[in-house]
């Protein structure tokens, strides 16, 4: 039931072989991820070869000439790799051409939004599990809120908060939180109800108060559900912060960078920015996983 936390990585081994299973777990995982990466690269390479026109003065080399088109339709893998590398390390971190600079701006808004999302998500879930009325009345709205595209709500949030005198970080954080609170709410609704009926009735025999039931049982029982939802929420809060940068007229941040690339048809910049955005999400979720592992863990016995 609640051994969610104790199981990491891939639950299913798709093929079994004596030598394969003899390898250490991390190596097998790396090999599996690497194999998928190679397949994606192959598809990408073929597509890049088919789609791009050849440049006027092809450079000599063993790679296809149209992989080095200056204004590619679909940039080739080495082009994107070089553009990403340059974006990350080709400029000082304080330069507005550095993607690290923009990533930090986005991360700032995303983490503020993430913190907001945790607070709102846990508060909503706590209210929902304690009130039948809210369970019936509020949960549907929480779900509906996610069916509205952020791109539509983002400008409204910017206008309303701007009218109230807030600009810059806060509107972006709110947009980011509006996406990220959802998995926290849903995960915690399940987590706060995860305690077994005997565990629950036990507290009833002690005539425990609602607050005691929450802090002694519901909250600790929900922790295995908290971290998986936090991981989803963190990734969403980064997406939200990037989307939030589009209508705010931001000049800094990965979203602002994407907008510039899109206006000017700079496919390479767009790809490089997207790759940095996914690296950012991957790294932050990785840090969260490390925090989760550092916390004391327990196994459910029933």
């Amino acid at each position: 039931m609640s051994d969610v936390a104790s199981r990491g990585g891939f639950g299913v081994t798709t093929f079994r072989h004596a030598r394969w299973t003899a390898l250490p777990g991390w190596l097998r995982q790396a090999a599996s991820v690497g194999a998928i990466l190679c397949m994606m690269l192959a598809v990408w390479s073929i597509a890049a070869t088919l789609v791009n026109p050849a440049p006027d003065d092809p450079e000599p080399g063993w790679l296809p000439a149209n992989w080095w088109n200056d204004r590619p339709v679909l940039p080739s893998p080495p082009q994107v790799l070089i553009a990403t590398w340059n974006g990350l390390f080709g400029y000082p971190v304080s330069s507005p051409r550095s993607l690290i600079y923009h990533a930090v701006v986005t991360l700032d808004a995303a983490l503020t939004g993430f913190a907001l999302a945790i607070a709102v998500g846990i508060a909503l879930a706590t209210a929902i599990v304690h009130s039948k009325l809210l369970d019936r009345g509020l949960l549907p709205w929480v779900i509906v809120s996610q069916s509205i595209p952020v791109l539509a709500t983002a400008p409204m949030i910017v206008v309303v908060l701007g009218h109230a005198g807030f600009s810059g970080l806060l509107p972006k954080a709110v947009i980011s939180a509006s996406l990220a609170f959802f998995p926290v709410t849903i995960g915690m609704c399940k987590g706060l109800r995860a305690a077994g009926s005997a565990q629950m009735e036990l507290l009833r025999t002690y005539n425990a108060s609602r607050a005691q039931v929450f802090w002694k049982l519901r909250w600790p029982a929900s922790i295995p559900y908290l971290f998986p939802s936090l991981k989803v929420a963190l990734a969403l809060s980064i997406t939200g912060a990037i989307v939030g940068e589009l209508p705010t007229g931001a000049t800094a941040g990965l979203g602002a960078r994407l907008l510039i690339a899109s206006y000017n048809g700079l496919m390479l910049l767009m790809w490089a920015t997207l790759i940095v955005a996914s690296l950012l999400a991957g790294l932050s979720v990785g840090v969260l996983t490390l925090i989760e592992r550092a916390l004391p863990r327990f196994r459910a016995s029933q």
């Binding site: 565990q199 507290l203 002690y206 005539n207 005691q212 049982l217 196994r299 016995s301």
Partner: protein, 278 residues
């Protein structure tokens, strides 16, 4: 019904305690009926039972006979449709608010994030004892079930029998006079069950507890009890109450005596009548 007459006629305590005290538990003409749209389920019908201080009562019967329901009514975890229940002279609700009973569930229901000691301290935290006193009382309760050594271990590091002993220690930590136990040893193997039965009968004698014990096992019921209440299903009711007039101090040898075998046979007959009703 003759069953009620029999149950009422024998409010004798094996301890011979003075009978001017109110019974620890009294159940009068209690019924529990669950109605759904197209069916009526009579979980308990016209059940009366009086339990005196120091008695050990076993409820035994086929599934659906309402033995767990009866226990839950006494614990105020469920409400009767009609009839009256009294615990220590008051309502079951008052008894629950006074924390005057300890309840042991079928599953140990330990909190996996708490060590054995910390699980036993849980009720003491709820009633707001100081940290020092919690620890002293939890250690004493764990020692009483023979688990002083294991106090720092977590539930998943304990065997099923040890887990259930922790849960008994937890029920004892509030020092109640009344222990309600719902098939606590049902999931354990025979040898472990024997050991825990011995342990339980010692605790009962030494602490002068009143115990109401739900079980499926005839030898267990006869070995532990002062009275065995045989129940039958559909509707759930008491079919016979059988006395077990053994001395308070009981050892496993008791089970080889003529008297033990005769009483076990009585219980078996009462139950096969109950099963025949199905």
């Amino acid at each position: 019904m003759n069953s009620i007459a029999e149950a009422n006629a024998d409010p004798v305590s094996a301890h011979g305690s003075p009978s001017d005290q109110p019974p620890v538990v009294s159940v009068d003409r209690v019924a529990v009926v669950y109605k759904s749209r197209d069916s009526i389920f009579r979980a308990l019908s016209d059940v009366s039972l009086h339990v005196e201080r120091g008695e050990f009562i076993s409820l035994i019967g086929p599934s659906g006979c309402g033995k767990t329901t009866l226990l839950r009514l006494i614990a105020d975890l469920a409400q009767p449709t009609s009839g009256e229940l009294r615990v220590n002279g008051g309502t079951p609700y008052q008894a629950r608010c006074d924390r005057s009973y300890g309840y042991v569930f079928q599953s140990p229901a330990l909190y996996p994030w708490r060590s054995a000691r910390s699980n036993v301290m849980l009720p003491l935290e709820i009633i707001g004892l100081s940290a020092a006193e919690r620890r002293t009382r939890a250690d004493a309760a764990l020692a009483a079930v023979g688990l002083a050594e294991a106090s720092g271990r977590y539930p998943w590091q304990l065997s099923g029998g040890m887990q259930q002993r922790v849960s008994i220690a937890r029920a004892l930590s509030l020092q109640p006079d009344l222990l309600l136990m719902d098939e606590p040893f049902g999931a354990l193997d025979e040898i472990t069950r024997d050991k825990l039965n011995l342990h339980l009968t010692d605790l009962w004698r030494e602490r002068n507890l009143t115990v109401i014990f739900v079980t499926h096992s005839i030898p267990e019921a006869v070995f532990l009890s002062t009275r065995v209440v045989a129940m039958s299903a559909n509707p759930g009711r008491i079919s016979r109450v059988i006395e077990c007039p053994f001395p308070q101090r009981r050892t496993l040898d008791l089970r080889n005596t003529r008297q033990f075998l005769d009483i076990s046979q009585d219980v078996r007959d009462a139950l096969s009548d109950a099963y025949a009703d199905e």
